[in-house]
Amino acid sequence: MAVHEQTYQQYLGKLTPEWSRFLVIPRHAFRDVFRSKLFTAFFVICFAPLLLEAILIYLHHNVNALAILKVNVRELLPIDAFFFQAFVNVQAGFAIFVTLLVGPPLVARDLRNNALPLYLCRPFSRTEYVLGKMSVLLILLSAITWVPQLLLFLFQSYLEGVGWFVENLSLASAIFIGSVVWILLLALLSQAISALVKWRVIASAALLGLFFIPSIFGEAVNSLFQTRWGSIISLFALMKNVTAGLFGTFVQASVHYTNWDGRVGHEIIVNEPPLWASWLALFMVCAICLTLLSRKVKAYEVVR
């Protein structure tokens, strides 16, 4: 019988806070992601509309520049809710492409390589793992959406004065909430698909399909049945309505159809789904994604 002496010393020193440990995941993911020159170039291009936005804001307040250009930018493009909403929508489009490039392999790669036990046999929960993987997208997408746009909002406030800032504070919250809801939705969707489909290309295609196929189908439903309720299955339409609601630009009775019944034409006014329905639909999509993640992100898949 072997004699065992307890000679090793377990580490009893200070540890980092539990909440910060998930950040190890994005740190490595960023290095991996930015190793691709193509992605880095695309990520830089994502800032081009923001640069344009900054230029427009600057021109708005620079009398000399306006005189040189001989255009009245103030009248041509007023800086208001529509201005910021338009750029939020543009950046939302870029966010989709960044998600398509970065999101699909995040969980899929670990599942394919049976690497989950490697993470989960630590003081590290499944929630922290998912949070860590999602934070890769959340950080990247924040960097091209609400963070620079809030900075531009502050830039505009600085040029316009405190009065404008106080008066338009709701725009800042709309930029923030609208962008965060969108990037949260993108992150959850991509992670759920990544957990379902283990192959990157298929996962990317599935994610792309999830955005476009229901939108096309929803538009077909709208046209056929002369309604706007088809938009409830389109992620684009849902986000458009939610963002418009946040910016205060949402108009429910927005679409006029001219229906040619034989030779007689008449106009039909159809209503967009109410805002609460759009919020509810988004909430349900997120809930489904979370359910999928909780079922799939396990150290071992139980085969029945």
Binding site: A2, E5, K14, P123, V303
Partner: protein
């Protein structure tokens, strides 16, 4: 009087409970543990108390080795029963994984990392600060003889090096319990010997090492005890020689090399515990099967003392893990 007696009994119970808690805080305890995957049996009614040292899990594919390991690491929850690792229930990961290191059999690594980055990252996940993580990384790499290759990408490692880097990540945070799933797979003989020596060193330091392996002679060589599993049940557990001794239905086989095997055969054959005595083909040895090895060895002592027969060597033929495996599992697994 009866009240005083019942108080005494309560005190005794308390003392017994606290003694059992102290004992369990040094053991890995399976208390009537079962795991079912739907209707499929993983392991059933497992009761084990595993002490320090090297314990090997042995059994054919699907016997329940990996299930048992995953239950120990808390990656699977038991359908019934409870498991405690040094007194910590497996459903408390924060405390559990401070004391437990796990090396899976899967060859999976985050992309693009060097060996030292791999270990350091997971130490950061454990909650060590950067300096401590750096220090422990170097120590772990040293222990598995990979310090020189630490700055190379894991993708460029050989299979043996990948096996060792996985072992390094399991021991890097200085756990008290190490669970190693097939840790000797893919290692060349030299590295395999080094790794076994490392296991023995870790065990000597007071760690619990739970190892699953298919390589029986190596398990036999390094293990303090074995747990034999088959079809989800623990077939046998304990010191391998102890297990062998208890297998009365399979008489122990002993080969005695001597100058007068025929005379020895005549001497032993009238004993009731000797089942068979057969001369070796070269006529310089006797092959004996006995139900009581201890009594047989005493008899041999007498023979040697008498000085009539010159005994050169005595070698048990089936007092090892391979034989035990063959007797307890081999026929069944072949049959299935």
């Amino acid at each position: 009087m009866s009240e005083a007696k019942s108080k005494l009994e309560i005190d005794r119970d308390r003392i017994r409970n606290s003694q059992s808690e102290i004992r369990n805080s040094k053991l890995i305890v399976f208390d009537d543990v079962s795991k079912f995957y739907g209707e499929i049996l993983g392991v059933n009614r497992v009761n084990l108390q595993i002490d320090r040292g090297i314990t090997s899990l042995v059994g054919p594919n699907g016997a329940g080795k990996s299930t048992l390991m995953n239950l120990m690491t808390g990656l699977l929850r038991p359908s019934r029963g409870q498991i405690t690792i040094l007194g910590i229930p497996t459903d408390q990961p924060e405390q559990l994984f401070r004391k437990l290191g796990y090396c899976t059999q899967f060859d999976s690594f985050p992309r693009g990392l060097t060996g030292s980055e791999f270990i350091k990252s997971f130490l950061l996940v454990h909650g060590f600060d950067r300096n401590k993580a750096e220090e422990f990384t170097v120590t772990a790499l040293e222990r598995v003889s990979l310090l020189d290759a630490g700055n190379r990408k894991i993708a460029a490692y050989s299979k043996g090096m990948r096996q060792r880097i996985r072992l390094a990540q399991a021991i890097a945070h200085q756990p008290a319990v190490l669970i190693l799933d097939e840790p000797l797979n893919g290692l060349d003989p030299m590295v395999r010997a080094e790794t076994i020596a490392l296991f023995r060193k870790l065990a000597a330091e007071g760690l619990h090492l739970i190892i699953s392996s298919h390589i029986l002679h190596e398990v036999d060589m390094m293990s303090d005890r074995v747990i034999l599993l088959n079809n989800g049940y623990v077939v046998a557990e304990g010191n391998i020689h102890g297990v062998r001794d208890e297998m009365e239905e399979h008489p122990m086989q002993i080969l005695i090399r001597c100058d007068k095997p025929a005379k020895l055969a005549a001497r032993v054959f009238d004993k009731d515990h000797v089942v068979e005595a057969r001369l070796h083909d070269d006529r310089l040895g006797l092959f004996v099967r006995t139900r009581d090895a201890d009594r047989f060895y005493l008899l041999l002592n007498e023979v040697v003392a008498e000085g009539e027969i010159n005994i050169e060597s005595i070698a048990p033929v089936d007092d090892d893990l391979s034989a035990v495996y063959q007797y307890l599992i081999g026929s069944e697994s072949q049959g299935s």
